[in-house]
């Protein structure tokens, strides 16, 4: 009897394990993705193009935002997805660490001309001369100004100086509104600590060396940028109040900070033009480029990329997928679907900003339809004028640590814990240590 029970249990366990079924890795025509979703026409139309072109491939999209832990665990366990979609700055770091594989052969096989992709985007996915991913969307950072607030303070929005830091501080003081010790309108938000690399670049320095193997945080120009931007915030309100006030913004709603006159000016990602145009089309704003201290317009490029993880089971089909998803014709199909989708809701289509220059050229000549929306009509040409003037930080194997280190430094200065010099000296030490740990320098 006892033996029979044991046999029954073993049989049940064996049946249960067998019931787990075939892994996608074992099926030759199954392609799995991670970090990608199908929230709008941009995604669904492009996936539709791929499915039409490769009907024999069973594409399985695991919807959801990219999760670093999930991805690395999958790579470490030897069962990664076939494709990963993530911010380029992260993918660059993964490439430098060997979590994703080079796609040079794939690009050769499909005769992909990398020169059609924006150089700053390509820089983010290139490590030691090898390409590790294909850039997807491309966003830039630009200034969005609240016209009524600035004009009421006697400032012409078109001439708000981002090159003359002293004048900028002075004009910020004029337009900031504080009532009974409580801030009512932020005059100028430099977007610290997130946009600190932009301000360092405005002062002529990139925070990571071109090879990604050193941090440049205690450079006097970086210190100067830190001192200026943190002083700019602190002159308006203590950081705790400033941030709490910002946290209360309904950034993606009709009652956003511009509509409610809670903010006069800030640098922002270009996608926000479409957000404003959709949610508060009547808000009176000026979109203009950020300038460096010589008065030259510039910007930082962001966005995502597709890559093939190390150990992916179907790299060839994955290659077909990422080439198709980032091709000009696919983007144009997606842009048309997006435009038609928005038109059905009576909304303007402010274009699709991709890292593929040919795709953008076709989209903005054939598909773009601002439908008389002033924000889009004024803002989109600014975005287009900036795309070729963009920089991007190079990929670094210690990228997450470096980002954390300079963000923490900015917070310490904003909170009054340290001076800019002391915070960045500490940040440099921490960054050096992080790099030493990763690359053994």
């Amino acid at each position: 009897m006892g033996r029979a029970w044991i046999l029954a249990v073993v049989a049940a366990l064996a049946t249960g394990c067998a019931g787990l079924g075939e892994s996608p890795d074992d099926a030759p025509n199954v392609l799995t993705t991670m970090g990608f979703g199908l929230p709008d026409e941009h995604a669904t139309a492009r996936v539709g193009v791929f499915r039409q072109k490769y009907p024999g491939i069973d594409l399985r999209i695991t919807e959801g935002a990219f999760d670093e832990q999930q991805f690395l665990s999958a790579v470490a366990s030897g069962e990664p997805p076939d494709l990963v979609y993530a911010d380029r700055i992260k993918l660059g770091g993964f490439a430098a660490r060997g979590a994703v594989q080079p796609i040079d052969d794939c690009l050769r096989r499909h005769r992909v001309d990398m020169s059609v992709f924006r150089p700053a985007a390509v820089r983010q996915v290139t490590v030691d001369g090898h390409t590790y991913g294909l850039p997807d969307f491309a966003t830039v950072k630009l200034m969005i100004l609240n016209n009524p607030a600035l004009r009421a303070a006697g400032i012409d929005p078109a001439t708000l100086p981002t090159d003359d830091w002293q004048a900028l501080a002075e004009q910020t003081r004029k337009v900031t509104a504080v009532d009974g010790g409580r801030i009512r309108r932020i005059g100028f938000d430099p977007k610290l600590p997130d946009f600190f690399p932009l301000w360092a670049k405005a002062n002529g320095v990139e925070l990571i060396s071109p090879d990604g193997r050193a941090a440049v945080l205690d450079d006097p120009k970086v210190v100067e940028a830190m001192r200026f931007t943190t002083d700019l915030v602190k002159a308006q309100a203590p950081w705790a109040s400033f941030k709490a006030f910002k946290d209360g913004f309904d950034e993606f709603g009709a009652g956003n900070q511009y509509a409610k006159d809670q903010l006069a000016a800030m640098p922002m990602d270009s996608f926000y033009i479409n957000t404003l145009a959709t949610n508060s089309p009547d808000v009176d704003v000026t979109v203009k480029p950020m300038t460096d201290r010589t008065g030259t317009p510039f910007t930082e490029l962001g966005g995502q990329a597709w890559a093939i993880p190390r150990g992916a089971a179907h790299p060839e089909q994955a290659c077909d997928f990422l080439v198709t998803m980032t091709a000009k014709d696919t983007w144009v199909t997606a842009a048309k679907a997006r435009r038609d989708g928005l038109a059905a809701k009576g909304r303007p289509y402010g274009g699709t900003f991709t890292a593929n220059r040919d795709a953008d050229a076709a989209i903005f000549s054939e598909v773009y339809r601002p439908a008389g929306n002033r924000i889009v009509e004024q803002g989109v040409p600014v975005v287009l004028s900036l795309q070729e003037k963009a920089f991007a930080l190079p990929p670094s194997p210690a990228a997450p640590d470096l980002v954390r280190v300079w963000r923490s430094a900015a917070i310490r200065v904003l909170g009054g814990e340290q001076t800019a010099e002391a915070a960045l000296a500490q940040a440099q030490r921490e960054a050096d240590l992080a790099l030493r740990r990763v690359i053994g320098r």
């Binding site: 600590p193 997130d194 705790a240």
Partner: protein, 300 residues
């Protein structure tokens, strides 16, 4: 004799699923993490043995001190407040009569809120400029602090939020209170003991075993606190680290080291250090309990 052997075998059979689960899902990973703590391992390359380097670094890493301080600060504030509040609520519930069932349900409902939703809600409620809590304080003439952005107030704000889940402890106390012999109160009343004296000399000793249990459990949970603070201040990579180190709890730092910096070896060492800290604190509590906790079954 044969019957005893049969009982033992049956006991092992019933215990075996738990033992198997413990070995596979708890003891196994613990032993593996002990091994990892002696290595440098980034999940992408094979682990390399580094001896006690990770433990040496742990002693000199200033962030460990900050994270430990934040965690202890939270624990020291959270546990006593939770116990006192839960006891007060349970005592009130005891007097609620027929409505006790309804209030018990109401009190327990917040415990069902998913932690991430709770964090999102409290970010709005605690906002220093526009939040409802400061609005409420304003009605009474107080100017509330910036709970979510002022480094001095972030931890008290998190403690305030943590009391949202007081219901589960209160329900445990309610059960304990109902088990205190009523004749003791009757005798005390006949002797002219005040309500406070009854509470101090009868209620508290009567439920001291339960209080001891909740202190231990909540202390361990507080030392491992993660979800709410992470969801509020670290969950979105775009805004992570935007409030400095004020909410950097020990397990959050451990998580960052493991899954952001990919330092599995160091993170494992951090985990074992926390295990030791919890073990020491629990041992102190167990020792203190010998003097402070009364069990009905043992002679005083």
């Amino acid at each position: 004799m044969a019957r005893q052997r049969g009982d033992t075998r049956a006991a092992w059979m019933f215990l075996s699923p738990w033992i198997a689960g413990f070995l596979v899902f708890t003891a196994g990973p613990m032993i593996f993490s002990l091994f990892l703590s002696l290595t440098r391992y980034d999940m992408l390359k094979p682990a390399t043995f580094v001896g006690l380097d990770n433990y040496q670094e742990l002693v000199t890493d200033p962030k460990v001190g900050i994270a430990l301080y934040n965690t202890l600060f939270f624990t020291v504030l959270h546990v006593p407040l939770l116990i006192v509040l839960a006891l007060a609520l349970a005592s009130l519930l005891r007097r609620a009569g027929r409505a006790s069932g309804f209030f018990r349900t109401v009190l327990y409902l917040p415990v069902m809120t998913p932690p991430v939703a709770l964090a999102a809600m409290f970010l709005l409620l605690l906002n220093g400029q526009t939040g409802a809590i400061n609005e409420l304080l304003g009605w009474f003439g107080f100017t509330g602090p910036n709970w979510t952005t002022d480094p001095a107030w972030i931890k008290p704000g998190l403690v305030l939020m943590s009391l949202w889940g007081v219901g589960s402890t209160a329900v445990i106390y309610l059960a304990a209170l109902s088990r205190v012999p009523q004749e003791l109160y009757e005798a005390a009343r006949l002797d002219g003991a005040s309500s406070w004296k009854q509470f101090w000399h009868i209620t508290l000793p009567g439920i001291s075993g339960t209080i001891y249990f909740t202190v231990i459990v909540n202390t361990i949970a507080s030392l491992q606190t993660f979800t709410e603070a992470y969801a509020m201040f670290f969950g979105n990579s775009e805004v992570a680290d935007n409030q400095g180190d004020s909410a950097l709890f020990y397990v959050i730092y451990l998580f960052q080291q493991a899954f952001s910096s990919l330092r599995m070896g160091y993170a494992s060492a951090l985990a074992w250090a926390l295990f030791v800290v919890i073990a020491v604190i629990t041992a102190v509590q167990v020792r203190a309990s010998r003097r402070l906790v009364y069990y009905e079954s043992e002679p005083r």
